[in-house]
Structure formats: structure tokens, C-alpha cells
Amino acid sequence: MDAIQYLITGFGTALQWHNILFCMVGVIIGTAVGVLPGIGPMSGVALLIPITSSLTGGLEADQAAVSAIILLCGVYYGAMYGGSTTSILLNTPGESSSVVTTLDGYQMAKQGRAGAALSISAIGSFVGGVVSIIGLVFLAGPLSELAIKFGPAEYFSLMVLGLCAISGLAGKSIIKALIMTVFGLLLATIGMDSVSGVARFTYDQPVLYQGLEFLTVAVGLFALGEVFKTIIENDNSEGQIVKFSKILPTKQDIKESTGPVLRGSVLGFLIGVLPGAGATLASFFSYSMEKKISKHPEKFGQGAIEGVAAPETANNAASGGAMIPLLTLGIPGSGTTAILMGAFIMYDITPGPLLFPEHPTIAWGLIASMFIGNLMLLILNMPMVKVFAKIIETPSKYLLPIIVAVSVFGVYAVQVSTFDLMLLFGCGIVGYFLARNDFPLAPLVLGLVLGPMIENNLRRALTGSNGDFMIFLEKPGSLIFLLLAVLWISIPIVLKMRGKKVLINEEA
């Protein structure tokens, strides 16, 4: 098996001592990000990009990239583990993907079974994570071989599909989500056009020639936006943490959660692979599925361990599954993977079908590190869960100003420009007002990241067809993607018109 061979080489990279260290730092910070209700995986990853880039400054280009990305991905899946802790102990989800965990998790904690709930969610997360990485190992090769045959027309349509998918599920109003997507794409056109070298929308301002820096915009929108929201809306709710002593689950607990964990892994992985659907949707779906097939559906909401095991497994499996379209096709399916893609591009590496043949050390090193990271998280979250529970008590008085200071430091360390610092604060204000009025931010970031690539493929396809737009409908692959994109947007609209409730992906 080729895949196994590559994976073994990948472990060679991931087991270098500095990469183990990076992985560990990533998952610890990720768990902390997950536990803290104020900051989510998107702002966590965005905040850490500049910090990792200064940490890896001394390494060679390829090595720096793999180490940095190992750390950032660790933050991403680590946050999925941490999110459950506050759901169970405080009835406050640390992330949107842990919202359903509160239903049964907090009930269990009140009945004195907090330890069992926490350990089952750690075990479930581990199983879900590992299942999805195994899926990634075997799907990555075939998918990138398929994608490598795509021409510019197919690529353009595939990216349109990705954008439509994330907009269709991204918020209360599809129109608002689409506006954000288009706005992101438009912002990406500012600066020097990479094909012809023409300056666009720069108005002779030298700071604009390189375009709006993705990192600055992302940190501003997410990290500062969330800080501003917490300050303005004063939602530093201080609840009582449930005390607990016993950590290990009983045999009965394990027996009852085996089924939900296995089903949650598969379901979560499949949902994660789909663009647009992410960890939040996966956790909702697996919870309702368990409730439907359970012999005692009335137990759910009263502290059923299945209601903790299934969603916590599924959200981790989904975060692993979401790496597949990112790594093999270069299409991020969620806000956090869009930010990860921005990190790849900062290191001059474009995720996509060429990633595996051209940078096998990075691709397989990352995959191998995800196994190691999940193992570390299992260890961190079982005996150490009490330590992490303490993080909840960090007073927001100190936390919020420090997040602002870290954002300023990160942006300045990478960009070394006052203009970017002003852009950072501007984006923070814009991010707060957009999010407050139900304009989802993830599509904006996705548009900003994919903008240059979409435009390139559009122009290459059109140049090949002498400016004839029909090329996108004549190529069968491209036609299929476009049809899927139309369906993805129109089906939720039709369902809404019929008065059905459509589940949306708040963010993951």
C-alpha cells in the first residue's frame, strides 16, 4: 500500500522532537481555546498564525511550514476536545460545536457523573479523530489524483461550489451569506493583479499594492470582533462550576456509548467532508440520530451518556473530515479551514492536488502528526481535565486586553506596518457589527482566500475559450459542479419557503 508507506515517512517527520513539541503546544492551546467561551477555533488559529511564523523563523522553508501547520491544526482539533468541558461543567458551550453536549452533559454533571461525561467525550473525540484521519489517509491519494485532471474550467466551478456550499449553510439569511462571499472576493481584488501586473483599486497608495493582508483581516474580524462583542455585550457570565472527583467511566457507561461513538465517527466524518457542513452540524445530526434510534428516547435531556458521546465524537470526526477537501482539492469547507488555507499560502504552499506529489513531507507529516496530537489530547483530557477546567476561571478583565495585545503583536511582527494595525482595528469593528446583524464572517474569509485562485482559473478558462462563457457548461465536470452549486443554494431556500426549519452551521 502506497498510502501506508507515505504515512510511515510522515511519522518520520512528525516524530522529530521539535515537531512533537509544536504538536503539543498546538493541542494544549487548542484545548484552552476550546475551554474559553470567549474565543473560538477561528480566532484561535488566526491569532496563532503570526506567532508560529515567528517561532519557525529559524527553520528551513519546508520545515518551517510543516512545523507551523502541525501546530495550527493542533489548535483546530484541540478546540473540539476542549469545547465539551465547559458544556458539561458549566452548561455554557465553549464552541458552537458543543452546544448539544450541554443538553445531556450538564444533566450528567448535576447527577454527579461529570467525570464520566468528560472522559467519555474525550474517548469519543479520540475515536472520532482517529477514524477521520484513517479516512483521510486512504481518500487523500485517490482524490488528489482525480483532482489533478481538472482544468481551469473545472476548478473554477469547483470553487464556486465550495463558496455556495458554505454560503448556503452559513447563517440565518442565505442572501446575507452570499453578500459576504462576494464582498470577500471583491476585497481580494484590491492590489496588484497577479496575471497582468495591473494595479487595481490602489489609488496610488503604496500600502495597497500588495492587497489587504489576509492575516490582518482574519485576526481583526474574528479575534478583535469577538473581544469587542464580549466587552460591549458584557456577557462574561460567571456560573458555578460543578465539582467532581471520579474521572473514569463505569463499564455500563462504556457499553452504552460504544454504539454512539462508532456511529458518530462515521456520520461526523461524512458530514465533515462535505463543504459547508462542519462540526456544528455533525454534532446536531448525530445527537438527533441517536435519539431517534434509541430504545429510550425519553432519557435524552435527562443525562443520557449517549447524548454526550455521539455529538462529541461527531464534531471531532468532522474536523478531521474537513481536512480532506482542504488538502486534496484546495477548497476549504469552513471558516477555520479557510484560515488554515491562508496559513498554507503564507508559507508559499498551495493546498490542492499538487500538495501530495510536490510536498509529501508536509502533507504526510501533518497527517501523521494528527495521530500523535489526538493521542496527546486523550492523555491531556483524561487526567488533566481538572487543570483545564480551572482555565474557565480566568478573569475576562485580564484575558480581553491581552487578546488585543496579542493581535497587535502578531500583526505587527509579520507585517511591520502601522497601516496593518489600523486595518486590524477597522476589521475588528466591522466584524463586530457584521456578526451582530447576522452577517456571517466565515464566507467573507473564504472569499478573501479563494479570490485570487478563482479569478486566475476563470481567466485561464476564458482565455482558452476565446472569452466564451459557455465553456463552463460544455465541460461535463464543470457543469456538474455548477449544477450542484445551484442545488446547494436553492434546496434550503425551497425548504424554508415550505416552512421547514433548516439547520444552519453557526460556525465550526
Binding site: S54, L55, G57, G58, K172, S173, I175, K176, L178, I179, V182, F183, L185, L186, T189, D193, V195, S196, G197, V198, R200, F201, F228, I231, I232, E233, N234, P395, S396, K397, Y398, L400, P401, I402, V404, A405, V408, F409, Y412, A413, V416, T418, L421, M422, L424, F425, I429, N437, D438, F439, I454, E455, L458, R459, L462, T463, N466, G467
Partner: protein
């Protein structure tokens, strides 16, 4: 959702779209590719057009849903404005007063704005953070930060 905010933002986005449409017409075409090739104006032009159409859609949408009466929420704009102004000043003068002093002052103001009192803890955390980050970044990682004022 708030009708007036949505209408206002639909107007704003429509203006942005029109702006991009008009401005993209002014982009000077390079000679690359000759006639019939696809220039650097087509993508922003098309997107501007889509943005205008979507804004009209959003405007129409505001007539369809019922205004949600949200419960009165207490908004804390005073703290926000103090921290925002402090942050912007911090960013503007970072290169003049240096990282250590700037960060120390910003954090101190931030902590005290969030919650008055405990001056000693605030001073300690601000000091440790600003000196610590500067030392780690410049001393250990050999990065570049304006450390102290040059005067």
C-alpha cells in the same frame, strides 16, 4: 433581525458594488494577451454586479420577515470606546514610543477599564507581558520590534 439595519446595510453594499463596477471600468488594460483576452477588469466588474443584485435581494427580504422584538440588552459602549481608542493610539504610536512602553500602558488602561482596582496585579501582569514578549521575540527569536523610544 433588525429591518432598518438590514435596509441600511443593503444600501451600503449596493453602493460598494456600484463603486467596484464604475472603478473597474477605469482599470487600464495591459497589452498582455491582445484583444479578445480576458482583462483584469472582468472579475471585479462581474462581482460588483452580483453584489448590487444581492443587495436588492436583501432589501426585498426586509419586507418579508417580521421584526423580532429583542429584549432590552445592556450595551457597554463606554468600555468599548475607551479600549478601542487606547488600542488605536497604541497602534499609531507603537513605532515612536516602542513596544515595551506602549504595550505596558495599553494593557494597564485595558485592565483598569474592564474592572477598576487591583492596581498591583494589573501593573505586574502588564509589565511581565510587555517585557516577556519583547525579550522572547527580540532576544530569543531574533525578531524585529521597536523596543524603546529612540529619543
Amino acid at each position: 433581525m433588525n429591518k432598518s439595519v438590514d435596509r441600511l446595510s443593503s444600501l451600503l453594499f449596493a453602493c460598494i458594488g456600484i463603486g467596484f463596477i464604475l472603478e473597474s471600468r477605469k482599470i487600464t488594460q495591459s497589452s498582455f494577451g491582445g484583444s479578445g483576452s480576458v482583462g483584469s477588469d472582468i472579475f471585479p466588474f462581474g462581482l460588483g454586479l452580483i453584489l448590487v443584485l444581492l443587495s436588492i435581494g436583501l432589501f426585498i427580504e426586509t419586507f418579508k420577515y417580521k421584526e423580532q422584538v429583542s429584549e432590552k440588552q445592556y450595551f457597554n459602549y463606554k468600555k468599548f470606546i475607551i479600549i478601542l481608542v487606547a488600542g488605536v493610539l497604541y497602534g499609531l504610536f507603537l513605532e515612536d514610543i516602542g513596544y515595551v512602553i506602549g504595550t505596558f500602558l495599553f494593557l494597564l488602561i485595558g485592565f483598569q477599564t474592564m474592572n477598576r482596582g487591583k492596581w498591583i496585579t494589573s501593573i505586574l501582569i502588564s509589565g511581565v507581558f510587555s517585557v516577556g514578549v519583547y525579550y522572547l521575540f527580540v532576544g530569543v527569536l531574533q525578531g524585529n520590534l521597536p523596543g524603546f523610544p529612540t529619543w
